[in-house]
Symmetry: C2
Subunit: 357 residues, 2 copies
């Protein structure tokens, strides 16, 4: 795994991120060395993906503490970072974890301790993703055997929950990358994922790793499921409630319905950092609504090789831009966590995370 989308500078002064608003057309790195730069990068989705925005925010808080490590500044910086995106719980979780570590030490040590804690979060995230990959690989192996081993396992995914959304393996795509490493044949149907077209990021990153894939419109995956062209659906999560309800990129819910109807297993890859143990179910998860321009315009490469925005419809057309939806737990075959595959229920999660009882 050669490239990570975030690199922390050794001296603790900044992070460099691969600007995901330029991908897949341009590989442009940005150095973020202030709280404001980090907050803007998260808000504008230069960094995106629930695990990665948690890690980015953790580093952002450490960077802020280099300027002012007072209790007040710490609280304000944490509030700024928490407010950048509302839905993913990793963000809040990571900010609180770094805040707690910093508050526990004298002001002079806070920036250093916070930076180390951010590094620990990053390292744990990599380990969790790798473990999710191994547990998911077991599912893919069983499917491959059950279908006689004669053809690749056909995975459908929505949005991007690969190494661009985390640091190495990603979440939903970790089983795919582990399968590729182990020589288990896989092919990936990639939902385009309007409005931000993260499916094209997924196509790009799968291509970088040599994993066979094809992009389909968000509309098409219901047909693929209905006609038996998908063996398993793997998605990520931005926040998982205690009962196993999964909030993920808008459109996930439609795929879950179609998978259920088709009898195709549907799993979410759920690092425990994305579980909101305080929520009994998914109904109270805040659903981000973003600016209309993401729907009214599309970015792409024009004929001259320049990244250009084009307007799809009449100027001033009213738009509603909903970022996420909630898939009720009963539509999930299971949750792939770093500790194993859980039933999508409170009992299932607590069996793997008994400390949350």
């Amino acid at each position: 795994m050669a490239v990570r989308p975030l690199v922390a500078s050794p001296d603790g002064s900044a992070i460099s991120i691969l600007d995901q608003t330029r991908l897949p057309h341009e590989e442009e790195w940005r150095r973020l060395d202030s709280l404001e730069a980090v907050a803007t990068a998260i808000r504008t989705m230069q960094v995106r993906g629930a695990p990665l925005i948690g890690i980015t925010a953790a580093y952002g808080l450490a960077i802020a503490l280099r300027i002012d490590a007072s209790d007040q500044a710490l609280g304000e910086a944490a509030a700024v970072l928490r407010a950048t995106r509302p839905t993913a719980i990793n963000l809040r979780w990571a900010v609180e974890r770094v805040s707690g570590a910093a508050r526990a030490v004298p002001r002079a040590d806070r920036a250093r301790i916070a930076w180390a804690e951010a590094g620990a979060i990053a390292a744990e995230d990599i380990a969790a993703c790798r473990a999710i990959g191994d547990h998911g690989l077991g599912l893919l192996r069983r499917l491959h055997q059950a279908q006689g081993g004669g053809r690749p396992v056909r995975v459908l995914t929505h949005c991007n929950a690969g190494w661009l959304a985390a640091l190495e393996y990603g979440t939903a795509l970790a089983p795919v990358y582990r399968a590729a490493e182990e020589g288990l044949p896989v092919e990936v149907w990639v939902d385009e994922t309007r409005p931000r077209n993260q499916g094209w990021l997924t196509a790009w990153e799968l291509g970088q790793r040599g994993v066979p894939h094809a992009v389909v419109t968000d509309n098409a995956s219901g047909h693929l499921l209905q006609r038996g062209e998908v063996d398993i659906v793997l998605v990520g999560t931005d926040r998982t409630a205690r009962n196993g309800d999964v909030c993920n990129k808008v459109g996930t819910w439609l795929k879950a319905l179609a998978a259920d109807e088709a009898g195709v297993p549907f799993y979410a890859a759920v690092p425990s950092s994305s579980i909101d143990w305080s929520l009994a179910d998914g109904r109270a998860i805040p659903i981000e609504e973003r600016e209309s321009g993401e729907v009214t315009h599309v970015h792409g490469l024009d004929g001259t090789g320049r990244v250009t925005a084009v307007a799809l419809g009449p100027a001033g057309t009213p738009v509603r831009n909903i970022g996420f939806d909630v898939t009720p737990a009963r539509y999930l075959t299971g949750l792939i966590t770093e500790r194993g595959v859980a039933a999508a229920s409170e009992a299932g999660l607590l069996a793997l995370f008994p400390e949350q009882r």
Copy 2:
């Protein structure tokens, strides 16, 4: 209803069409005066929408007969037109009807008779759409009353089945336009409908008629349905099987699943010209797959006001471009035909169309 997307020239030599590949950015009319021009216009979706391509093909056959009205030329022209698009049955139905009318008369009269038959099909289509509008208006009225009349009826639609897809009222949007005419308050959620973004055509045509609407991504409508923000779903159909299975623009199936789960009524507007009485169910309907460029690129208006195509992902990314899907009859609340609202079943359809027993 001031504008129609197709105008037949009084002398029977040509039709003029509003080029729907340029909409909603440019209103460009094209004169089609040869079989080849008509076939190309249908194939490239300069004209689109099941009713309209039937009408266009009917005129196209009449135009071809002006050059050569022999049995052989008639058969060949019909074959060319039938092959332009595979899914919508209206096309085949209209071509066969005009062929039959032409064959029944001497060669010298064939072009004139075919032209008249195409005109009859167009006139019947307008009447059918208007009748669908009236029957659908009844459904909207009952919803409005049932919810206490305090707010607009919120309709969700997918693709474009309005006056751009037919001649006047359209099919799925006919009830909406009739409601607007009668002063019944309605608002329309418009699915974007990737890859061809016909939702933006729907937004444009609703805007032209002053009907309140908002565009959402195809992914978002599941969330809207789940959260109670939709009162009724109205879609068109490209081919309806004898048992009530509806083949329509890809993605329709996902909306039907979400509507069913949410308990929201889901209707297809079904002119009888779109019913394939020869098919027991929808499984055998040919599903058009189109070129990958429709998925890899998006057309829109760039910053300089020019219509531009932009590439969304890495060049050479494999793509599957599926045009339609089949919604099984049991997911439909009913079929709005020109003779009334039928249950989505063979018995339901035959009760309204006893001549098909």
